[in-house]
C-alpha cells in the first residue's frame, strides 16, 4: 500500500472537529432567551452533562466518513502486481502497437518486439481484451479487441517486417480510436518500437482518451552500424546516335566508425560495375559509373552497397527507358511560315520532337500531334483529323488569313470568324493567361516569361464553343488560345499566326517554351520518374499506367516484387500502393512482353536510426509529462500509473459520501437526540 499524496493525511487532524463541535460548540448553537438565570446560575456547572457523548454510533459515523474522504485525497494504491490487477476494477482494454518498419529488421529487434508483445498477451487476465496493431507509415489492425490468447499470439506471429518507414501518428490515432470505442474503463497502450526520431514529428494531433495509460517499450540498441545507398541520379547523353545513361550514386555511413563500401551497379540483374568508397564515420560519398545504353524500355537498374545488418537500405532500384520522342506533323502554309515552330520543336529534350512537315493534306498517321498552320482544311482531312483526335491525338490550329474548317466536323473549340486588324492604333497584346493550365503553369512565377511583350497586329475573331476553355485572351478580351477535349484527345486553337506576319511572338523568348508546352500538352507527355518510394501510390489513371494498359483495361495485372498479384479496385479509380521494395510490374494480360515497370525504394529517412526519447512520445500522446516507460521485458508500473489504474480513491470517496448520507438519515431520525 502506498500513498501518492501523503501530505493530505494531515487533514486527519480534522477528525477532532466533530468531537469539539459535539462537546463544546453544539450548546452554543441555539440561544434561548429566558426571563432570569437566577436559578440556573445556582446549579453547579459540572452537573451539566454536556461533555458526555451520548450517541457513539452517530459520532463514529461522522468520523469514519471524514477519515475515508481524507484517505481518498491521499490517493492510495496497492503495490503488488496481482493486487493491482485485482484492484484496478477488473477488465482492461490493451492495444499492443508493434512497429514493423524496416528499421526494426536490424539485428534481433523484431524478435524482441514480438517477444514483448507475447509477454504482454500472456499477462492478460481472463476478462481482459487486447488488440494487435502493426504499424509503419500506416497502421493495420491484425486482431481487434480479442480475449483469446491463442488468437492474439497467432496474430503477433503473423506479423512481418515491412519496407515502409516509421510514423507513430497513425498508429496512436488508431489505438485511441480502439480505446475510445471500448466499454472497458481500464485502458492501456503498449507501444513496442525502436523509436526512431524520424517517425515522431511532435504530437501530430494525437491524443489518447483520458485515463488511458501508455507504456512505451523500446527495442532500440545503443550502437548501430548501418550504411545506406543514396538515391541514384541518371544523366542522359547521346553518343553515336545512341542514348547513354550515366548513373551517379553514393553511400551514407550512419555508424560511428569509418567504413569501406563496395558500390555495385546492376543492370537487368547483372552486376556491371563496382566502385569502392571510403566513408568517414557519419560521412557519405558518391561515385559515378560508366555510362551504359538501356537495351529496352523499363531497363531495371540497382545500386547496392555493403551487407550490414539492415539489408533493406543497401540497395537502390531504378527503371530507365530510352527517351520517348514525340512525332509532330506540321501541315499547311509555306515552309517559311512554319520555320519558327519547326526550329523551336527541334530543340526539345524533354521530350524530343520528331517534326515532319507536310503539305495541305495533313496525314496524322503515326503522329502524336498535328499542327495545322493557316490551313484551309478539306472535309476529308477534317474527318481524318477528327478520328485522330477521338483516338487520343492532339491537334493544334494556328489561324492565318487562309485558315478554315468545314462545318461538318465539329471538333474545334470555336467557330472561326473574320480577321480583326489591330495595325492601326495600339497593337494587341496577350492580356489574360490561364496560369492554372499546364501550358502556362511554368510561366506563373515572376520573370518566368513575359507574354505581354509580344504585339499582335491581326487575329481571327472566334466564337468559343460551350465545351471549350479559353486559356488566353487578348487585351480587348478576344480569345487568343482555346482548348477543347474531344474523345481521348484534345484540340488547341491559336487565333493568330505562328509566323511574324500577324504578330511578333515568335521573336520573343517565351515562344520556344510556349510551343514546347503546347506540343507536350497535346501529346499528353509526362516525364516518367526513375523510381518511387514505398508508401507512394500508382494511380490507375496516370498516363504511364494508361499507356501500359491501353485497350486492355480488364486484363490489368499488377505483380509485386515478390511476384504476388496486387489487388486493385476498378481501373478508373483504383490505385496500386507500393508496399514492397523492388520492381512492380503492371501487365496488360498475362503475356505482356514489355510490362510497365516501377521501381520502389525504401524511405531513406528510416535508415537513420537515431532514437527519440520514448517519454517524449508518451507525453505527446497522453498530454502528460510523466509517462510510464518500459525497457525491454522489464515493463513496470509507476506509482502514478498504479494509482491511476486502481482508482482506490474513487471507492474511498464514494464510501465516505455514503456514510455522510447515512449520517444525515440517522441524525434526522434521531431528531433531537444529541451526540
Amino acid at each position: 500500500m502506498g500513498l501518492l499524496t501523503p501530505l493530505f493525511l494531515v487533514a486527519l487532524a480534522g477528525l477532532a472537529v466533530p468531537v469539539i463541535i459535539h462537546m463544546i460548540q453544539r450548546e452554543k448553537k441555539n440561544v434561548v432567551e429566558f426571563p432570569s438565570l437566577m436559578f440556573l446560575r445556582r446549579i453547579p456547572y459540572q452537573s451539566v452533562r454536556r461533555r458526555h457523548i451520548r450517541n457513539w454510533p452517530l459520532l463514529l459515523l461522522r468520523l469514519a466518513a471524514l477519515a475515508l474522504i481524507v484517505a481518498a485525497f491521499a490517493r492510495p494504491f496497492l503495490r503488488t502486481a496481482s493486487i493491482t490487477a485485482a484492484a484496478s476494477g477488473g477488465a482492461k482494454e490493451v492495444v499492443i502497437l508493434i512497429d514493423r518498419s524496416y528499421s526494426i529488421g536490424y539485428g534481433d529487434r523484431w524478435a524482441r518486439a514480438v517477444a514483448l508483445a507475447r509477454d504482454r498477451v500472456s499477462e492478460l487476465g481472463a476478462s481482459d481484451r487486447a488488440s494487435i496493431v502493426f504499424f509503419d507509415s500506416g497502421a493495420e489492425v491484425a486482431l481487434r479487441s480479442a480475449s483469446d490468447k491463442g488468437r492474439l499470439t497467432s496474430a503477433i506471429s503473423a506479423g512481418k517486417v515491412s519496407a515502409a518507414a516509421t510514423k507513430f501518428g497513425p498508429a496512436l490515432k488508431l489505438a485511441g480510436s480502439i480505446l475510445s470505442e471500448s466499454a472497458l474503463t481500464n485502458r492501456e497502450v503498449l507501444l513496442i518500437s525502436d523509436f526512431q526520431r524520424a517517425g515522431w514529428l511532435g504530437a501530430e494531433g494525437v491524443r489518447l482518451p483520458d485515463g488511458a495509460a501508455m507504456i512505451p517499450a523500446s527495442v532500440a540498441t545503443d550502437q548501430v552500424s548501418n550504411v545506406s545507398v543514396a538515391p541514384a541520379v541518371l544523366l542522359r547523353s547521346t553518343f553515336n546516335d545512341r542514348e547513354r545513361i550515366t548513373v551517379t550514386s553514393g553511400a551514407i555511413n550512419r555508424s560511428t566508425s569509418p567504413a569501406s563500401v563496395d558500390l555495385t551497379l546492376e543492370v537487368d540483374g547483372r552486376a556491371i560495375q563496382t566502385r569502392t568508397l571510403k566513408l568517414e564515420a557519419g560521412g557519405s560519398g558518391s561515385a559515378s559509373f560508366d555510362p551504359f545504353s538501356p537495351a529496352s524500355r523499363f531497363t531495371r537498374g540497382t545500386v547496392r552497397a555493403g551487407d550490414d545488418r539492415l539489408a533493406r537500405d543497401n540497395a537502390y532500384h531504378f527503371v530507365v527507358s530510352p527517351r520517348d520522342r514525340v512525332k509532330v506533323v506540321i501541315a499547311g502554309g509555306a515552309r517559311e511560315s512554319s520555320l519558327y515552330m519547326a526550329r523551336a520543336l527541334a530543340l526539345g529534350e524533354t521530350p524530343s520532337f520528331d517534326v515532319v512537315q507536310q503539305g495541305a493534306d495533313a496525314d496524322p498517321t503515326g503522329a502524336s500531334v498535328v499542327i495545322l498552320n493557316d490551313l484551309a482544311v478539306s472535309p476529308a482531312a477534317a474527318e481524318r483529323l477528327a478520328t485522330f483526335v477521338e483516338n487520343g491525338g492532339g491537334l493544334f490550329l494556328a489561324l492565318g488569313p487562309r485558315a478554315s474548317w468545314p462545318g461538318a466536323s465539329d471538333i474545334l473549340p470555336a467557330q472561326l470568324g473574320q480577321p480583326i486588324d489591330r495595325t492601326r492604333g495600339t497593337a494587341g497584346r496577350l492580356g489574360v493567361l490561364e496560369y492554372g493550365h499546364s501550358i502556362f503553369e511554368s510561366f506563373r512565377a515572376p520573370r518566368s516569361g513575359d507574354f505581354s511583350s509580344a504585339r499582335v497586329y491581326t487575329y481571327r475573331a472566334v466564337t468559343p464553343h460551350t465545351d471549350a476553355q479559353v486559356l488566353a485572351r487578348f487585351d480587348d478580351g478576344a480569345p487568343a488560345l482555346l482548348e477543347r477535349r474531344t474523345g481521348r484527345g484534345k484540340v488547341i486553337l491559336w487565333t493568330t499566326a505562328l509566323d511574324v506576319g500577324w504578330n511578333d511572338l515568335a521573336l520573343k523568348p517565351v515562344f520556344l517554351p510556349f510551343i514546347h508546352r503546347v506540343a507536350a500538352n497535346l501529346a499528353s507527355y509526362t516525364e516518367r520518374p526513375s523510381s518511387m518510394t514505398v508508401g507512394d501510390v500508382l494511380p490507375a489513371s496516370s498516363p504511364a499506367f494508361a499507356e501500359a494498359t491501353a485497350g486492355k483495361a480488364d486484363d490489368v495485372v499488377v505483380l509485386s516484387p515478390a511476384g504476388e498479384r496486387v489487388p486493385m479496385a476498378d481501373r478508373s479509380g483504383g490505385v496500386v500502393e507500393l508496399r514492397e521494395q523492388g520492381f512492380y510490374e503492371v501487365r496488360s494480360g498475362e503475356r505482356d512482353p514489355a510490362p510497365l515497370t516501377v521501381a520502389s525504394n525504401v524511405d531513406l529517412k528510416e535508415s537513420d536510426m537515431t532514437p527519440v526519447d520514448p517519454q517524449e512520445v508518451t507525453a505527446g500522446a497522453t498530454g502528460k509529462a510523466g509517462g510510464s516507460a518500459a525497457s525491454g521485458a522489464n515493463a513496470t508500473y509507476t506509482n502514478e500509473e498504479r494509482e491511476r489504474t486502481q482508482r482506490v480513491w474513487w471507492y474511498l470517496l464514494f464510501a465516505g459520501m455514503l456514510l455522510l448520507a447515512a449520517e444525515t438519515v440517522l441524525s434526522n431520525k434521531l431528531g433531537k437526540v444529541r451526540v
Partner: protein
C-alpha cells in the same frame, strides 16, 4: 363592560373573564378612605343604615340627627351616628421589566398581567372605586393617580406599556409607598425574580400606610416546568448574560428550586398579611381570577 373600541387598552378587558367574575366583588378587608358611599368600610362615620353609637349634642350639629326618643327618656340631646360605607382607592402596580416580556406560548407574562390589571380595574371601577395604575421596572415608568374617572386612562397606559429595562422591586415600590397617602387597595403584579426576603422587604412598606396589598406572581409555564429540550445557551433577558445549559440535566433541580422560591414567597407574604397568588400564564385568566376572588369572598364572610 366597556364597549368602545376607541380605547386601545380595552382589548385587555376580556369579556370571557368578566363574564366569569362579573358577579364577584373585590372588597377591601381593611377600612379604607373614601369620599362616596361604596362597598368598603371607612374610618369615618357617615350616612348609612348601620348604627354606630350616640354622642352628646354640640353646637353646630344638625338637629335632624338628634335622637329625639332618647331625649324624651333622658332629657338630654344625643346625636345618632352611623357607620359609613366608602369607595376605595385601587391601584395596580404592574412590573414592566424585561423579564415580564417572556412568553413561551405566545402570550407574554406582561400581556397576561395587563389583562389581569385591566379586568381588576374594570371590576373595581364598576364598584365606583377610584382606579389608578403605576408601571415600574427599576424605576417608576408610568403613573395614573387613582380616580373614578381614570378608567380609560388606565387602559390607555396599559396598552402602551412595553418591557424595556431590567427590573428591581425595592426602589420603585419604596418610592410608591411614600406616595400613597390614602389607604386603599394595592395590587402588585410581577414575576418577582428576587430573593423572597428582598421581595417582602420591597412590598412591606406599601402596607405601612394601611393599604391592603395583593401580590399576583405571574409566571410562564416554561419558568415553572423548564420543559426545554435542546441543549442551548440560555440568555438572561434582563442582563444579557449567557450560560450553556443542557435542560435535561438540570430540569428537576430547577423545578425544585422554583417551587421552593414560590413557597418561600407565599410564606413570607402570609406572615406579612399580604395576599399572594401565583398565576401560571398557561392557565386561563378567568379561572385563576375566579378562584381567587371567590376564595377571598368566602374568607371575608367567614370573618
Amino acid at each position: 363592560m366597556i364597549s368602545t373600541t376607541s380605547i386601545p387598552g380595552a382589548r385587555f378587558v376580556d369579556p370571557k373573564v368578566l363574564a366569569r367574575i362579573g358577579n364577584l366583588e373585590l372588597v377591601a378587608r381593611s377600612v379604607v378612605d373614601g369620599f362616596i358611599n361604596g362597598l368598603h368600610r371607612t374610618s369615618v362615620f357617615g350616612a348609612s343604615v348601620d348604627f354606630a353609637e350616640h354622642r352628646g349634642y354640640v353646637a353646630g350639629d344638625d338637629i335632624r340627627r338628634v335622637d329625639w326618643r332618647l331625649y324624651a327618656r333622658t332629657d338630654r340631646y344625643y346625636i345618632k351616628e352611623y357607620e359609613a360605607d366608602s369607595n376605595a382607592n385601587f391601584s395596580v402596580l404592574i412590573d414592566v421589566s424585561k423579564s415580564m416580556g417572556f412568553g413561551s406560548r405566545g402570550v407574554s407574562k406582561l400581556d397576561y398581567a395587563k389583562m389581569l390589571a385591566a379586568c381588576l380595574t374594570y371590576l373595581v371601577h364598576r364598584q365606583r372605586d377610584r382606579v389608578g395604575l403605576i408601571a415600574f421596572d427599576s424605576d417608576i415608568v408610568d403613573h395614573v393617580p387613582p380616580s373614578a374617572k381614570h378608567m380609560e386612562t388606565v387602559l390607555h397606559v396599559l396598552d402602551r406599556l412595553k418591557p424595556s429595562r431590567p427590573g428591581n422591586l425595592k426602589a420603585p415600590l419604596h418610592k410608591m409607598a411614600e406616595h400613597f397617602g390614602r389607604r386603599g387597595l394595592l395590587v402588585v403584579i410581577s414575576d418577582l425574580y428576587e430573593e423572597p426576603d428582598a421581595i417582602l422587604e420591597a412590598i412591606s412598606p406599601l402596607r405601612f400606610r394601611g393599604s391592603e396589598v395583593i401580590v399576583f406572581h405571574v409566571l410562564d409555564e416554561a419558568e415553572l416546568e423548564f420543559n426545554f429540550d435542546e441543549a442551548s445557551s440560555f440568555e438572561d433577558l434582563e442582563s444579557g448574560e449567557q450560560i450553556p445549559v443542557v435542560p435535561e440535566g438540570l430540569r428537576e433541580e430547577y423545578r425544585r428550586m422554583i417551587q421552593a422560591h414560590v413557597a418561600a414567597i407565599a410564606e413570607r407574604c402570609s406572615g406579612g398579611r399580604i395576599d399572594y397568588r401565583m398565576l401560571n400564564t398557561s392557565a386561563p385568566l378567568d379561572h385563576a381570577l375566579f378562584s381567587y376572588l371567590s376564595m377571598r369572598e368566602k374568607l371575608m364572610k367567614a370573618r
